[in-house]
Amino acid sequence: MASEKNGTLRTAPAGQGTNTHSRTYLAWLAFAEDKAALFSLVFLLIVALMAAFAPYVSPHDPYEAVNSLRNAPPGSGDFLLGADSNGRDILTRLIYGGRISLVVGFAPTFLAMVISLVLGLTAGYFGGWIDQAIMRTLDVLFAFPLVLLAIAIAGMLNPGVDTEIVAITVVLVPYISRIVRTSTISVTAQPYIEAARAGGAGQWAIVSRYVLPNMISPVIVYTTTLVGLMIVVASGLSFLGLGVQAPAADWGSMVSEGRVVLRKAPHVTVFPGLLIVAVSLAFNYIGDGLRDALDPKAIRR
Amino acid sequence: MAEPILQVQGLRTHFTTRQGVIKAVDGLSFNLEAGKTLCIVGESGSGKTVSSLSIMRLVDLPGRIVEGQILYRDTDLLKLDEAEMEKIRGDRIGMVFQDPMASLNPAFRIGDQIAEGILIHQEVDKAEARKRTLELLAQVGIPHPEARYGDYPHQFSGGMRQRVLIASAIACRPDILIADEPTTALDVTIQAQILKLLKEVQRNLNSAMILVTHDLGVVAAMADYVMVMYAGRMVEYADVETIFAQPRHPYTRGLLESLIRLEDTRETELAPIPGMPPDLSRLPAGCSFAPRCPAAIETCGARYPALQDISGGHQVACHLVADLAPAVDETVP
C-alpha cells in the first residue's frame, strides 16, 4: 500500500497505473541499453565471485613460495601471470587480494552513505541550527584534501584493513552528506510534502515514506561513482603500507611489493595496477549508466 | 503584388533521435513581402519555432535541414557556407526570442551586447557603434540610455530585456525580422507594449516580419497573413481577415472556436481541441489531424491531403474543403 502511494506520487504528472516495480524495471531497461555499463557490471560480478570463491578458483596457494620461480615472467610453468619476487603465483594473489580490495573500496562507501543519509537528511529536513551545526562541522573536513586526510587518519591509527575502512569512511561523509542535504531540501520543497504534512503524517513517516524514497536516486548514483575512486584511494593506502599487512595482500600492496623489482620483473607491478584501473573504471561506467537510467533529465544523443 | 523578399520552398527539418526521425518541419512553403507580417500559429510542437530557426539556420543537432530552399532575395540561404550565413544573421535577418530572461549574456554589459552586432556587420569604430546603440536604446524605449548602456542584464526587468533584445535584433536594420513568441514569457501588461514596439520598428524599417505565436489575439493585432501549422506542416494559409472570417480547416476552426468560447467568459472547456498533438516520429498514414478531427472521413486516414489554393492565395490542406465551405462563401457576390 505504502509503496503504491509513493509510486503514484512520484510519477504524478505522467500518471496513473505506474507503480514502483515498473519504474525499477524501466530503469533497468535503460541501464541495460548502455553496453559499457552492462559489460562493466558483468565484469565486476565475475571479479567479485572469483574473490568470494578464491580457494576454489585459484590455481595455487597465495602464500606458497616457489624459490625457483622468483620473478618468473607470465606464462612460466602454470603461473599464468607469472610469479612475484617471493615466487608466489600472481594470479592467485590477485584473486585473493580482490577480497580485501573490493571490501575496502565498497564497505567505506556504503558505511559513509548510511552515515551521510542520517546527517544529510537531518540537516536538510530540519534546517535551522541543526543544519548549521552539522554542515559547519563537515566544512572542517572539507578543508582537507581528501586523499591526504585519509592518509593522515590511517597513519595515526594502527595499520590494518579496519583502519583503512575507518579512514575512507570519514573522508567520504562530508561529500555524500552534502549531496543528501541538497536533495533533501529540494524534495522537501515539493508540494506533496506539504500535502503529507497537512494530512497529518508524522515527521518520521514523512521522512521515511516521502523524502527518502524521492531523494535516494541521485545519492546512489553519486555514491556508485565514488566506489571507483575509493578503490583507487584504498589501494593507495595499502601501497603506503597503511592498510593490509603482509603476507596478506591486496592489489595496492602488490603494486608496492613489485616496486622493488620494477626493472627485473615489471609484471609484478603492472598486473595489479591494471586490475585496479579496470575495476575502478567499471564502477565509473556503472555510475554513468545508473545516472542516465535514473535521471530522466539526462538525455543523451 | 510586390516581389517577395523571402521565399521558402519545400523546407524539411528533421531530428534524428534514438526513437526515430522526428519530422519537426515537413515540407513547408511560403512567400513573404517587405513590410508585411506573417503570423505562424499552432500548438507547441507544431513546428513553428523550428521553422523560424531553420530560416536562420540555427537548428541545433540532432536537428538538420534535410531538404528545401530558403531564398532571401536571390540567395538560397541553405547553399551558403557558415561564414556567409554569419554575415546574413543579425544583419539582413534579425531575430527576437521567446525568453528574454535567458537571452542576454549575464556576463556582458547590455550596451556592448547590442554594439557587438553593429561591429560585426558594419565598418564602424567603437565610438560610432556606441552612438548607434544609444540611439537604438532610445528608440526601443529604454529611459536614460547613457546611464543604462553599462548595466548588466540582471539589472533589467523582463520587459526591458526584451526591448534590449529587439534593439539588438534591429541594430543593422534587417530586411526580415523574426520574432519567436516574443511576449509569451512577459506579464500581460507588458505584452501589449512589446507588440506595439515590434510593429513600430517594423514600420520604420519597412521590413518583413515573421511572428511565431500561439495567441490568436496577437494574430488579430499584428498579422497581415496567417499560417496555421499542425504536426510540422502548413494546414491553412490566408490573409488575416480571411482566416478569422472564413476559416476552412477544421483545426483552424477549432482554434478559433476555443478563442470565442474563452471570450464568452463562460468557463466551458479550457482544452481547445480534444486529443493530443501526434507523436512526430510516428505520424499517422493520412492526415495528421484526422484522429482529432470532428469531421474526419475514411479518406482522411488513408492519405495526406494536398494543399490547395481555394481562392486568391487562401490555401488549405484538407480533404473536406468543399464540404466544409462556409455558408457566407456562397452569398458573397
Binding site: A152 | L58, P106, Y152, S168
Partner: protein
Amino acid sequence: MGRQIITRLAAVIPILFGVSIFIFMLMHLAPGDVTDALLGPMATGDAKEKLRKAMGLDRPLVFQYLTWMGNILQGDFGVSVHTKRAVSEVVLPRFGNTVILALASLLLALSVGFFVGMYAAAKSYSTFDRVSMSLTLMLGSTPPYWLALLLVLMFSLKLRWFPATGMTSILGDGGLMDIARHLVLPAIATAAAPAAIITRMVRSTMLEVLSQGYIRVARAKGVSQRAILWKHALRNALPPIATISGLQLGFLLGGALFTEVIFAWPGLGNQLYYSIVARDVVVVQAAVLVIALAFVLVNLAVDILNAFLDPRVRKV
C-alpha cells in the same frame, strides 16, 4: 564587493579553528604513546612518565591544545620527536618543494584539461570527443602511484630519458635545468588524474553554457563560432571551471604524496609519509596543518576571483 571578500575571509576563520582542533584531536586519539616511539619498547614506565611530564602530556587536553596553538601562532611548530630538529625548519622548505611540484602539475593539468575540454566541447560527439572522454575516464581511474611506476619503468629504466630519483636539494648546483629534468616525470604522474577530471569538467560546463538561450541569441546576431566559444561561452564557464580546478588542487596534493615518495622528491608529502611511518606526531601535525591551510587559502582565492568575475556580485 569589499563586503563580499570580508564575509568570505571571515568564514574561513572558524574553519581553520576547526581544522586545528581536528588535527590536534586526531593525533591524541591515536593509539600508543609518543613516549613509546621516543624511548623504544624497552623503556620503563617510570622513564615514560617522566618524559610525559616534561612534554606537558599530563596536563588537560584543552591546555595542551592552547599551548600548541599559541606556539604555532608564534611560528613555533615544536621539535621533531625523531630528529630533534625544529619542525618549522623541516616543514617549511619541504613545503616549498611541494609547491614547485604542485604548481608544475597544476599548470600541466590545467592547460591540458582546458584545451582538450574546450576542443571536445566544440566538437561534441565527434570521434575526438569520444576518444578523449574514454581516455580521461581511464586516466581518472588510474592510481597515481602506479602511473608513476609505469613512467619510471618506461622513461627512466628503459629509455633513460629522465632520472627516476635523485632530487635531493632544490638549491643544489644543478640549476634550473636540473630541477626541470627531475620534475618532468613526477609532474606528469601527479597531473594525470586532475587533468582528466578538469577535461571532463571543462567539457560538460562548456556544453551546459553552449545550450543557454543567450548563445543562440549571439549566433542570431552573426557572431562567429570561434567568438561564441572563446568569448560568450567561456566567459560564463570560467567561474565553475575555476572552482573545480581549485578543488583539484586537493586531489593533486594527495597524488603528489605518492609521486614524492616514488621519485624521492624532497617535498612535504614525502616528509609526511616518513613521519607517519616513524610515528613522529609533531611533524605529522605540522605537515597536515600546513597542507590544509594552503588548500583552504587557495579555494578562498578562487572564491574571491569568481566574485570579481561575476557582475551580479561586482556591481552591487
